[in-house]
Point group: C2
Chain length 232, copies 2
């Protein structure tokens, strides 16, 4: 092996290791979101508190992966594509960490709602929305693991449906509030929760955009979906 | 000059250049936030649309600064503190970009409200909150420029007041909604806007945490304020 090959081999090993960490972190974040929504729907205060506590674990992943990436940069001095990969990993981790924060926010609303007692019909659309968003995140992680541009592109398209889910939910809650002011406080909690879900969907898209950037070398972070279709 | 000194000198020049870009971007973001709030308070649709358009400029800064940082890493191969500095710049830029997105969200609410016509008393507390948040961001940028730990710490403490502003505003809007259901749609818009401001405050704190990390070498991203006081 030449020195160049040796470094490149080591780099690949390092990347594999850090990718595994990112996927583990992603798995934990998916779990946090699932639990926070479950707690919201069931008014389960204990489960919500668990989510809030476990956010520490998400944060630890964030700091550790950052450290790993920094030392890869120092040790392996990656250039071009390799550096782009490390940057994508750093950004993905940061998005996952913020998704964890959103799960914590949903858990806080769950605790709030568990104290108030809600009208069951108010929860109608949030479950569907959460299923869609969690599906997006799972697929985004998959696309990240396999550097799959097609899958990335699919996820970005699903986000339009999530945005629609969200708009419908807001409209519906406003109707409930106008019908019966007693529904206002819980409606507000549900609006925050649905906003959190909508942001999680946005961040799943961010991850997919990094994948596209990695594979295609195009920075699509600030490009509309239609433009994106033309590019690819 | 030895080769080492030469590289280090070049690195300093690069950092100065990229720092200037970050501060310019920060100035633009401050302006975007100010304009979005002004548009909200005055029901000024044109100004709101300007903010939405100018978000492109914020995004361009984001992509450009990222590129600059990547090429600094490749050209200068920074290690330890120098690499930490570049990472802090990348993260700061990303936070500024997201703040720009929040300004865009406020601008969208402004357009929405301009169509509805609002009850003036509903705007009472959002102006105060926005002044505080914009003050935080200006100070955070200042702390970033001068790597000022004390100033960073001050900003993080102001965030507690912003959180209080925000809680009060939510409570107040809920009261308005309960009193008069006609106030509900605008109240919802204002809740979103105040949430956006609250998030901008959080992100100003993020910037300050990077500064503390840079100077003190402590990663304080996930540490509570009390813990932080102990550390410093």
């Amino acid at each position: 092996m030449t020195t160049g090959e040796h470094i490149s081999h080591k780099f690949d090993e390092d990347v594999e290791e850090v990718t595994t960490s990112v996927l583990n972190m992603g798995g934990l974040v998916v779990q946090q979101i699932e639990k926070s929504v479950k707690a919201l729907l069931a008014g389960d205060k204990e489960m919500a508190e668990e989510v809030i506590e476990d956010d520490l674990k998400v944060n630890t992943f964030d700091v550790d992966i950052d450290e790993m990436c920094n030392s890869i940069i120092v040790m392996r001095q990656p250039t071009a594509t390799d550096l782009r990969l490390i940057m994508a990993i750093i950004k993905t981790t940061s998005d996952l960490e913020r998704m964890g924060d959103e799960a914590k926010r949903i858990a806080r609303q769950a605790i709030d709602i568990s104290k108030r007692g809600a009208f069951p019909e108010q929860f109608d659309s949030i479950e569907q929305m959460s299923t869609r968003v969690i599906g997006m995140l799972n697929k985004a992680l998959d696309a990240f693991a396999r550097r799959d541009v097609d899958e990335s592109f699919n996820v970005i398209q699903v986000d339009k449906k999530v945005d629609k889910d969200y708009e419908n939910l807001v409209r519906q809650q406003i109707t409930y509030m106008m019908e019966d002011p007693r529904k206002i406080p819980v409606a507000i909690d549900l609006l925050w929760s649905s906003r959190a879900l909508e942001r999680i969907g946005d961040r799943a898209c961010n991850i997919c955009e990094y994948v596209i950037y990695l594979v295609k070398g195009k920075d699509v972070r600030h490009v509309e979906v239609k433009e994106l279709e033309k590019h690819l």
